[in-house]
Each structure stands twice: as C-alpha cells, then as structure tokens.
C-alpha cells in the first residue's frame, strides 16, 4: 500500500478510536521515537530497492553561475594555440549563443587562462588553479562531455535539479526523500545552504528545492549559512520542553481533527513539520556545536563556523551527513565569469578549493565516502570564445565530477572537440546524470515513477536516459 495513504488511514483509525485526549502515550510519541513517526518518513522504495545501493546520501556541491570547463577540468591545448585568433565559424554558425551576439566571424578564441598539470596516479590533466581538488584526482571521476538544454541560469538550474525546464516538477532531493525516505526524523532529510563571498552571488530561487507535485513534506529546507542555521529553536522564556511538547501535541491533535473534516494534503504535512520542528529544537544545537571538532579539522576545511563561507558549509554538510540527512545541497554562487575569467577563477578557488578537497578526505577518513555520493558542478559551461576577458554561457559542453559511493576514482569520461566547444565522444545529458545518480542509490530510473495527472512522471523524463556505467566500479 502507498505509505502516504496507509498513514492517513492510520490517522483516521486513531481518531475514531480515541476520545481526543492527550494521553501520556501521545506525548511520548513526540519526545521519543515511535513507529508512527518513523513510518511517516519511510520511502516508497524503502524495502524494495531495485539494486543493492552504493550510496545512502548525496552531497551536491553546486557551483552556480556556470563554471568554465576550460579553466577547471577540460584540458584544451589547441585552444591555447588559437587564443586571440578568430573562432572558426564552422563551430558557431547557426548555434544558440547567450550574449555573444553579432557577426559570428568576429568571435575570437580565448585560450585557457590557467595552466593545466597532471595530478594523481591517474595522471589526469587538471587546472592548476585548484591544487587541492588536484590532490584528490584519484578519488574523483570527471565527466567532460556533459551537455544541457538551457542557456540561462534559472531554467538551467531548474533542469539540473528537476530534469525539466518547466517549473513545478519535483527536485532531485524531493524525489530521493519520496523514494528512499529519511534516515533521521530529527532533522529535515533535504537541507540546502547557500554561501556568500567569492563572486556575484547568483540569485537562486527556492523553487530549485521545491517538491513540485510530490507531497510538500519532501521539499528541501534552507538553513542559514551565516549566524544561526535555524532561528527560533529555543522555547520562549518560562516554557519548558515538557510544556512545549504538550502544546505541540494539542496543535497536532487539533490539526488531525481538521484533517478529518477537510480534504487538504497540506494538513498531514503541517503535522509532520510540527513534529520535526519539535525535534529540531534539540537536534540543531547539537548539529551546530562544533566545539567537538578538533582544531586541525577546522583548519583543513578553512572554516570559521557561522561565517557563511562555503568552507563552513562543507563542514556542516559532513555533520548533516553523519546525522542521516539524505540530500545536502551547497550552492556557491560566484561562477558567472562573463568578464575576467582568469581572476574570477582565482577568487572562487580561494573559496572552494581547499574545503572541497577537505570534505572528500574527511569523509574518506571516517569511512563515509563509500556510501556518500559527492557531485561537483554547475548548470552549464562557458564558451571557448572570448567575451572581453571572460566567457559567455555555453550549453554544448561542460564538465563535472563525482566521487564516493561506487564511483570509480581516477576515471575520465567523454570528451569535447579540440576547442572544447561541443561534445565529441560519449555525451552525457542531464537525464543520463540523474539516471546514474539514481542507480548508485539502488534505483532503476525507469521504474521510479509518480502518478500525476494520469501520467507516470520520472525524474529522467520521457526521452531515453542511460546510466554512465564506465565511471562506476560496480559494473
């Protein structure tokens, strides 16, 4: 039976059989963990995964703005040779470009603005602007043949997060909570944090972590990165935890009665969220208490807790992962380098390079990397053609990397043409990426659907999507 339905049936049975009194049992259900609460967050696939899962959770390091593949992961010596010379129109004629309008024959190549070096035992060429990410070259699998459909930030993020360019579809994290449930009922299963510093602070709409047509309790919850991650976790003065527990149980009972009269799925979500809120009042202070972190860990990340930096968010991401949060998404919003890409890359590197590598190493040291999937990348790439001293948005090709959870470290998959303009071999669409992510979580993307408006909706859409098997160690 659909667990959501089962849940609502249980609720009705409970209502019919009780005289609506707040017994001590009800209070206990808030203070402790009982079966009803646990089942509320259980996923539809919880006991019937399609494959043995490699990943239990995901940390998505979203580099918002469109990172240049040509200054990060895609080594293009030919582009360096053509720098300052005309971009052959055979590449660009008839193609969609964002801001580089005008005569195509006037477009000029811009050589890679940072040197590439060999890193790791795998010897992969990577940008020297990110030496720390270079130091984990053997942990990560790079895909150099990503392509997408949307040339502007917001729709491109929407596509990356939901597999659709139309707003209103569930985001990846919501799909995962729906399918796999949460491993904790003390914290939201899907947490999003944005960081500040290091660029233009690209706007990111909360639509990006919305649950779309899935029940709204599966939506992402945004924590503040600066100062307190969650406000109002303390009770008002003169109110003890027991007082607050009684109050909450009364509110939820009243809402259950409403749910009996009124057909509104938001009521069930509201009840679940009040239970979650009550638990967060103790779990969040614990999450934030970094006094237990050794000094060298803080130094490895470069984190000063509470400063709102990407580094602090990385540390928090590890602590969230340890506490069973299913999907953690960190946005760094400084990658839209229309101008000054050389300096821009240096700036973002200062903000993300050290912390990203520290996160991977820290997870590995704790034995968590084997079941944590890390995804690093943006919504699209950037043109090999110059836009002044920078690069324009580009959807024909971009790069990203993944690590952990059955990803074969040291692999490089797919390639672009000699100038890094278009995919030359083994193209990977956003849907292919989603299919691969789902596979690592034990889910066959074909069989993971949600019925809505008479259709079986999938994260991977209706066109065929394929799992990128060559980057997986389990195939």
């Amino acid at each position: 039976m659909d667990p959501l339905l089962a849940n609502s049936l249980n609720r009705r049975a409970f209502l019919q059989n009780s005289s609506y009194s707040v017994g001590s049992a009800a209070l206990l259900s808030l203070l402790g963990q009982d079966e009803a609460t646990a089942s509320q967050w259980r996923g539809t696939l919880a006991e019937k995964l399609h494959y043995p899962p490699k990943a239990k959770r995901i940390i998505h390091l979203c580099m918002a703005g469109g990172p240049s593949h040509l200054e990060t992961l895609d080594y293009k010596p030919e582009l360096a040779k053509l720098s300052g010379k005309g971009m052959p129109t055979s590449f660009t004629e008839g193609q969609q470009l964002a801001q580089l309008q005008g005569n195509r024959s006037k477009l000029k190549c811009l050589g890679p603005q940072h040197e590439f070096k060999r890193y790791g035992k795998c010897g992969r060429m990577m940008s020297s602007a990110f030496p720390n990410i270079g130091s984990i070259a053997d942990e990560i699998a790079v895909i150099n043949s990503m392509h997408t459909e949307q040339i502007n930030h917001d729709p491109a993020h929407t596509f990356m997060n939901t597999g659709s360019i139309i707003p209103g579809r569930p985001s990846m994290g919501s799909w995962l909570l729906y399918g796999l449930g949460a491993e904790t009922d003390e914290l939201p299963g899907y947490v999003v944090m944005t960081s500040s510093g290091g660029g233009q602070d690209q706007p990111i709409a909360s639509r990006q972590w919305h649950s779309g047509f899935l029940p709204s309790k599966f939506q992402g919850v945004q924590f503040n990165s600066k100062g307190d991650p969650v406000h109002y976790v303390n009770n008002p003065a003169g109110v003890t935890r027991a007082d607050q527990g009684e109050l909450l149980e009364t509110i939820n009972q009243m809402n259950r009665m409403l749910g009996y009269r009124q057909n509104d799925p938001e009521i069930a979500t509201r009840i679940a969220q009040y239970e979650m809120a009550f638990k967060m009042q103790t779990s969040v202070p614990g999450l934030m208490d970094v006094t237990e972190e050794p000094k060298n860990v803080l130094e490895d990340y470069g984190a000063t807790p509470g400063d709102g930096s990407f580094a602090s968010n990385c540390l928090l991401a590890r602590r969230l992962a340890e506490r069973g949060v299913r999907f953690i998404q960190l946005y760094h919003r400084g990658w839209d380098h229309h101008g000054g890409v050389k300096k821009g890359i240096e700036t973002v590197s200062r903000h993300i390079d050290k912390a990203t590598a520290a996160l991977v190493k820290d997870l590995k040291a704790r034995g968590m990397l084997e079941d944590t999937l890390i995804i690093w990348g943006g919504e699209f790439g950037r043109t090999p053609m110059a836009q002044g001293s920078g690069r324009d948005h580009h959807i024909q090709a971009f790069s990203l990397w993944m690590a952990g959870a059955g990803i074969k470290g040291g692999t490089t998959y797919g390639s672009t043409d000699e100038l890094g303009y278009a995919v030359a071999q083994d193209g990977v669409s956003v849907h292919d990426l989603h299919a691969t992510i789902l596979q690592q979580l034990g889910i066959d993307h074909h069989r993971f659907t949600y019925k809505f408006q008479g259709l079986d909706f999938k994260l991977t859409g209706v066109e065929s999507a394929k799992v990128v098997k060559k980057i997986l160690s389990n195939s």
């Binding site: 939506q219 969650v230 109002y232 109050l247 009243m254």
Partner: protein, 383 residues
C-alpha cells in the same frame, strides 16, 4: 545704511534657514534625448545603422509607429492602455483573479505570451478584462465581480476523487485552499490580539528579530534596532526589508527577498514555519495579549474558548476541541502553579506590559491555549 544692512543680515539668515531646513526632493529634468541607432544584429560596437525615433515594437502592433512628431512617455502610456491593446487589462485581471483563487486563469502570472500558459478559461479572462476596461479601469468593480461569483464562494473541501481528477483545479469545481502569505500571517496574529497598528505609509517598521542576525552583514556594518513604540505592531507590509538578511519570519513563509521581481510566490510548508510561529516573540506576545483579553472577559476556560474561536476561526469550537483545549489549560494551570516564576517569565515577553492585577498563573496557562490556536493550520489557511 542701517536698515539695508539689517535687511541683508535677515535675508542671509533666512537663506541659511532654508538651506538647512528644507527637504530636498528628486526632480527629473527633461534633457535632449540620446540619438539611438539601429544595432545590426544587436552589435553595440557597430554604429553604421540608421537613426531611430521612439516607437512600439513593430511585431506587437502597427499602431504607435513613428509619426512626424517625436513620441513621448505620454504616448507610451496611451499605447499601453489603448482599447486595441488587450494585454494590459488581461495581465492585470489575471493577477487580481490570482489574489482570490491562488492561481491565475492563466497559471503563469509573469508571462501571458508565447512562453506562458494558455488560460483555463480564455473567454472568462477576456470578458473580465473588457468589463474592467469598460468600467473605467475600476479595480473595485473587478474585485466585486470576482468575490460575488459562484466560483469564488465555493467550498475548498473537495472529494478525494475530484482532487485526483483535477489536481490543479482547472475546472473550478471547488475553491482552492490557500495558506496565507507571510505578511498576512503576522497581521492576523496582531489583529486578533488587538495589537495591530493600522497606520498607513511612513518609514519602515522594525519588529523583534533574533539578536545578532545582522552580525555578518557588511558594508557598512550595522546593528538592528527594533522599534520600542507602536511601530512594533505595524503591518507586515511595512516591515523593514533587508534583502540579503530578510526577517526570518518573512523568509520562512516565502516572502521574496525583492532581489528580483516576483509575480507569484511559492507556498511551502516547513518545520521552520512551525518554529517561527511557536517561538518568535511577535507570536508569543500576540497570544498573551489575546489571552489577557479573554481572562478579563470571562472567568472560566470554556466561555473563553467560545470568544477565542469566534474571533479567530469564525466558528464555535466542537465538543472534542473544547475537551482537548480545556485539558491543556488545566495541565498548564497545575504546572504554572508549581512554578509561578515561569508563568511571570512567559507573560513578560514583548513590549506590551501585562496588567498589574492579573493572576500570572491563569494568564500563562491561557496564553498556552492561545498559542495553540494561533498555530493552527486553520488559522493560517483560507479554506
């Protein structure tokens, strides 16, 4: 000479006074318009194109094309509201409809064009738009038409079958239930308690905010100072808007940061909202002031509940609800009787002072009950 000198001195003094005491205002001076040329394929470095005069985009209309005289902003205004231009009235009518139904007749409020969505009821949208224009762009007329309609007055309580068959309510066989927007949730709590200051206009209001929330704010560093007068209780509409550090209550209930134009808000349902309504001093204080009035009016809990339900939910409590809340009240009386200092702490939250002659235990226990009521889904939702 003396009178002349005296007059000069007076005039100088007057000039100084005017310079320091007169409010300055922004004034737009009409200047010679820039020469605008056609940019071949949008290339702004190419100035070979012909010189152009202001005109409406050709693809939109054959009207408003260059005339002998240079067109002005008044011409633009007239073009926007011309009878031949249906778009303005349609876009406006669609947004007014959305205020009362949660979604527009065309679901995409920000784009009625090619990339938007076809209206569910195109004829109705057209009819309302024409009615709006012919009434002399009378917004009240439009609102009256909508809220007296059968469609608007329907119950939102639909059968599960209807919900499944028509999840987006394209058929309007029911009303949509809607969670109140952030500002309304605040206004509602303040209005119910009698704290609301309905003053129109003026400078922004600064309600309570978690201490140190602006500690990370830079360029320049600033410290948040809440209002300690009646400005504390102004409507959400007038709350101080710090875009990068939006008030946590506004952020939790999906108010936009105003960094970009937002025609339609999301409506989320998160634990952060619960924490806000439970623990934000604005809501705790509103609950206590509401409770103060109940305590003053009625001696026993049951009549208090009658008053509270009527005010807050516009209906009497059911027997079960009465039992449940009375039980909460009795437990809280017991608990605060054993710890009267806690009762005093709870009723001291906020600027509004509790009355001197009140029994703190009774008021604290009643406050717990009104906190429960302010937190209800039914309180923050239009069904």
């Amino acid at each position: 000479m003396a009178p002349a000198r005296k007059k000069i001195a007076e005039l100088i003094k007057q000039e100084e006074h005017l310079k320091t005491n007169t409010r300055s205002t922004l004034v737009t001076l009409s200047t010679v318009p820039r020469t605008i040329k056609l940019l071949p394929r949008g290339d702004w470095t190419d100035d070979s194109g012909e010189v152009l005069l202001p005109a409406a985009p050709e693809f939109l209309s054959s009207e408003g094309q260059p005339s002998k005289e240079r067109l002005t902003r008044l011409d633009l205004a007239e073009w926007i509201t011309a009878r031949e231009n249906p778009l303005t009235a349609r876009a406006f009518t669609n947004r007014v409809w959305a205020l009362f139904f949660g979604t527009g007749l065309s679901r995409d409020l920000q784009d009625l064009g090619n990339q938007g969505q076809w209206p569910t009821h195109p004829e109705l949208l057209d009819w309302l738009s024409v009615e709006f224009v012919e009434s002399g762009w009378d917004v009240k007329h439009l609102v009256k038409l909508i809220i007296t309609s059968k469609a608007y007055r329907q119950s939102s309580n639909a059968s599960p079958q209807l919900m499944e068959e028509d999840p987006y309510n394209n058929l309007y066989a029911r009303q949509n239930s809607r969670r109140l927007p952030a500002e309304f949730i605040r206004d509602n709590a303040l209005a119910v308690s009698g704290l609301l200051n309905p003053q129109l206009g003026g400078a922004s209001a600064r309600p309570y905010q978690p201490a140190g929330y602006y500690a990370q704010l830079n360029f320049p560093k600033r410290k948040y100072q809440q209002h300690n007068d009646e400005n504390q209780y102004r409507r959400g509409l007038y709350m101080h808007w710090q875009r990068s550090f939006l008030h946590p209550m506004l952020a939790a209930f999906d108010a936009p940061a105003r960094e970009e134009c937002t025609a339609a808000r999301e409506s989320s349902n998160t634990p952060l909202q619960a924490l806000n309504q439970l623990n934000d001093p604005t809501f705790v204080e509103a609950a206590r002031v509401f409770a103060t009035e109940l305590v003053a009016k009625e001696k026993a809990i049951k009549p208090r509940l009658q008053v509270a339900f009527k005010r807050l939910l516009n209906r009497p409590p059911s027997g079960e609800e009465e039992t449940l809340l009375t039980e909460l009240f009795n437990k809280q009386i017991k608990r605060y009787r054993s710890a009267p200092d806690d009762a005093k702490k709870l009723i001291a939250i906020g600027l509004a002072l509790p009355p001197e002659k009140v029994d703190p235990v009774d008021l604290a226990a009643t406050t717990t009950v009104t906190r429960a009521l302010l937190n209800l889904q039914e309180t923050i939702t239009r069904y």
